[in-house]
Amino acid sequence: MMSKVFIAMLALAFGQAPSPKPQATWQEAKAGYVFSFPRDHAAHPDFKIEWWYYTGNVSAADGRRFGYQVTFFRVGIDHTPANPSKWAVRDLYMTHLAVSDPKGQRYRYDEKLTRGGPGLAGAKADTYYTWNDDWSAGLTGSREPGAGNRARHALKAAGKNAGIDLVLDEGKTPAINGINGINQKGAREGNASHYYSLTRMPTKGTITIDGERFEVSGLTWMDHEFSTSFLEPEQRGWDWFSIQLSDNRELMLYRMRRADGSHDPRSSGTLVDASGRTTHLTNTDFTLTPGRSTFKSTNGAIYPTEWTVSIPKHKIDLTVTTPLADQELSLVQSTGVAYWEGMIDVAGQSGGQAVRGSGYLEMTGYYGSLGRIFSGS
């Protein structure tokens, strides 16, 4: 869902700038939003923050596993810039790319931060295509078999040590998270987002790590979320899980951590059944408990790398582990952001039956003093 600390920082910081023009401004996420596809895959430029988030567990023909993450962020900076220059910054485009190789115990990542400029980066509003230099995500011309006229997604990104070139089917129909078209994130009305997920996308293509290329196939989870504001000052960070279970169900859960150590009541989740039907999970429906294993980053952050997930109402009890402890995307030098985003394995019970699964875990707010920034000091 969101490693959006930097984005949030930008959004907040600029929100306080003394010169926002009163006329055209950003739209807030309101209840009652009706999604329509493929239109809603495309960009929503009137919302301040938007991201397309792909995380996947794939493997080569010989069974060697890899994980990948590619995220295209768009963050609105100035809805209608006064400067007519094409370089004037309306939106910033940030892209994060990471490839995990548990066998080689390697984690490689890269980033791009670009303004739209004269077509350097962007996100089309009519059809789904977003790009940042030569990295891109969007719909292709080729169609997904047996799924009506649905176009496939294509992901292309190649950094110094990591690269992906993948084609994805949408698989299940989009799962709308939250209630009534919105996903409430804060206490205030409007501190919410429009958020849907493609929870089980058959994936094929190549992955490159340190110059080595691998033909892979597997499953991807895609999140697309757009909003204008969602964080509140006392929200410190979050832990987010996307899990694809062997019983053809998927689970999304996130927990907001508050500055005082408590959990924000707006934490929530979605359970998707085999047919694609969704069940909203509220804060009280589930527990997320960190285990004993941790990963200690050189920057001082300590991330729990072992969790137990419990959803009593749905008889789900899972243990979450990771095949690679160091999956911290540390951009402290450039954007001042560091978060853990990595492939996970799950095992446990679901509806009384043993299940296994894989997915991605994201942990943010473990590095630095975000609280001070959020509270605007």
């Binding site: 930008l10 700038a17 220059s85 004037a88 910033l92 230099d133 030569d134 402290v332 590095y367």
Partner: protein
Amino acid sequence: MKPAFTLRRGRLFRQFIIRPLLAEQIRTITTVLGVSLGIAVVIAIQLTNASSVRGFETALETVAGKTAVEIIGSGTGVDETLMPQLGWLREYGIISPVIEGSAALVTADPRSLSRRQMEAVKILGIDILRDQPFRDYQLLEIEKRNHERATDFNTQQFLEILTSPQTVVITEKLAARRSYSLGSELKLMIGDRVLPFVVRGILKNEGPARVLDGNFIMMDIAAAQLAFDRLGRVDRIDVLLPDGAPLRQGYGGQADIEQTLQAIAKRLPAGVFAQRPSRRGEQVETMLAAFHTNLTALSWIALIVGLFLVYNTVTISVVARRQEIGTLRALGLTRNKVLLLFLGEAAALAVAGIAIGLGLARLLADAAVTMTASTVSTLYIAAVSAPPDMNIGHLWTAIAIGLPLSLVAAAIPALEASRVPPTAAMRGHDTLDMRVRFKPAALIAGFTFLIAAYALAQLGPIGRRPVFGYMASFAIVIGGAFLVPAIMYFLAKIGRLVLRRRLGVEGLLAHANLTSAIPRLSISVAALAVSLSMMVAIAVMIGSFRDTVVYWVGQTLKADLFIGPGIRPTVGSEQTVSEDVIATLATHPDVVALDRFRNVDLIFENNLAVLGAGSFDVVLDYGGLLFKSPANAREVVRGSIGQDVVIISEPFATRYRKRDGDTIDIPTPKGVMPFKVVAVYYDYASDRGVVIMDRGTFRKYFGELSPSGVAAYLKPNVDPEKVRSEMLGMLAEGHRAFIMSNSTLRGEILKVFDSTFAITYALELIAIAVAMLGVAGTLLTLVLERRRELSLLRLTGADRRQVRRMVIIEAALIGAVSQGIGLAVGFGLSLVLIYVINVQSFGWTIQFHVPLAFLIQASIAVVIATSIAGIYPARRAAQLVLSHDE
């Protein structure tokens, strides 16, 4: 046989050479001073020339950062919409678009708005999101807070730099100098607009911030585009190759970068080009080469005059000690050792001269930089020119130039000395009467050099340097010098009666004295005549040039008012007039027509030239241009409007060997296009060479661009000064157009012209001063040697005043004769300067014109100055007799 003479050489040198040098202070001092001035001028000009190019190159390097390759457009930058297409450049490295420009800092002091006194700042507009790896910016203010906690990146500050078109980041130095701090308002004049900005960041004194002594401002590229009115384009795209830094240093890297350049060039779309950043420095260097070569050539004159003094001094010392040399020879000193002794004397003089000269060079360089800086910045580039520090290299240069040349200068008298037979010791004490009577060989040599000069003047330049022209000048000078004794004998014959009649007995005596001393004097006279001839030549050349320019300005500048940006444009810094200013001015009731013109930098055959766009119609109607060829240029030009044709300036035609009828390839945003040359016109404004297109043609290839200037034509019988001040009143707050009336602009052009040649006169004055030192030294020697005669004169009733008068008359005669010869030789030189050197290095036709008044004044001044140079020897002469009396 073992020589009886056993003095060790070192001791002999001390006693025989050093002691007399110390004893004859005046002569030694004048010689050393002469040599040191010569050396000083040569080194100073070297430093000065280096400073203008180096200033530009240092700025270039500091700003270019780790850029290995840059993508440039054709005069108007790169169309920004090409950027997504150029994405493949990422294969080669990180790419960063740049807007680079100049502005003037506007302060409360009203002088900051004057074109002359404004403080220039360099502005770099970059994509601050991406540029980090290129240039080592260190944000001081942000850095400070960042230090406390790494995450506490001041996002708001960063975003304001990114998003506000008013945000600037300035350097620590500028902030301190002008007491700016975060949040301060800072006003800049760009083009004709005064724009307000806010300081949002302070850069540490590192990386590009060091450029122009801290007069550096960084903006986001969006803000820079708006501020410089360059929406839609960037000046260039910098490419940082993966291991950019070593590429510019290692030889291996150079080869790689050439390959990379070619590979990139192949893939670039039409209208954009790839080059190394240093290429711009090389272009500036080439552009300034002619100007620099001229200065260098001039600086050598002072050195050569200084060497005349060495020759003179060693000659005197040989002649004066003929008997002693004979004694030494009789004692067994070999010829070679005698030769060495006198070469040693020259070396001693040279070493002292070099030591003092290096010190003087520094002072002169500062002065010369000040004098040339305005020329360089007015006509060529904007760069802060401080002379570079002197280093060991300059010491070696001074030694390498000064020592061998002094030895060469002393070789003739030293050889003479070595030929003194031992019998000379036996002869009488006073064998000063000279072996040099009148040598026909000198006459032949003189004419041979003059003929050689004529032949050399017929040859073409090497590159753009008129090497043979300079050789011809030197041949004229040397030829003239050889003829000096002959001329003096001739003048002595015819001058006797005149002097007697005009100046009485003192005149007669002076004449007699000088006539008998002709062989000795000819050296000093030749030295003085040579430097005076250069003065005459330069005066004639500049006079002719100025006259030509005055005529050309009168013919070319027809408009009543000229409207330009408030800040002066230079290479690589375009400044324009805003559309709203033009619109406002057009509403003035007395304006009949406004004609806009636009200049862009044109890279032609790898050199910097100017591409101008103006309305051919207007130019033809108002008769603005003077055409050189073809004869019916006006009809041809009028008939070709709308076609792909250009007219070229004379310097362009000369430099690139183009003429009407030829086709030239001009890089445009639509690719390199062929244009037919239909006419050549006279131009004295730029030696870079100018190509002019009709506005319509220009627009077709370059698009609509803001003009660099506007010419306004007024109703007849309207006072342009009145309209000018009314126009200035009409401009909105925040606009600072520079409006000049026709007469002011003419005055301005001549002022620029005169300041350009100020350094020429200064160098010339130094050469004359050196020559004057020579005259004083020679006279003094003559006086000292004529002690007996002078005593006799006094004893036979001449009073002190008469003796003084006699010596001063001698001095004045020397001056007059030198100036006479100088005039003759100078006219010869001026022909070479005007018809060979100027044409070859700058490519313009100058109409020959003699600045009579100046030459008369200068001649009188020379005679007075030499008379003054004679005062000290005259007083010594008067005193000497007294002491002899005792």
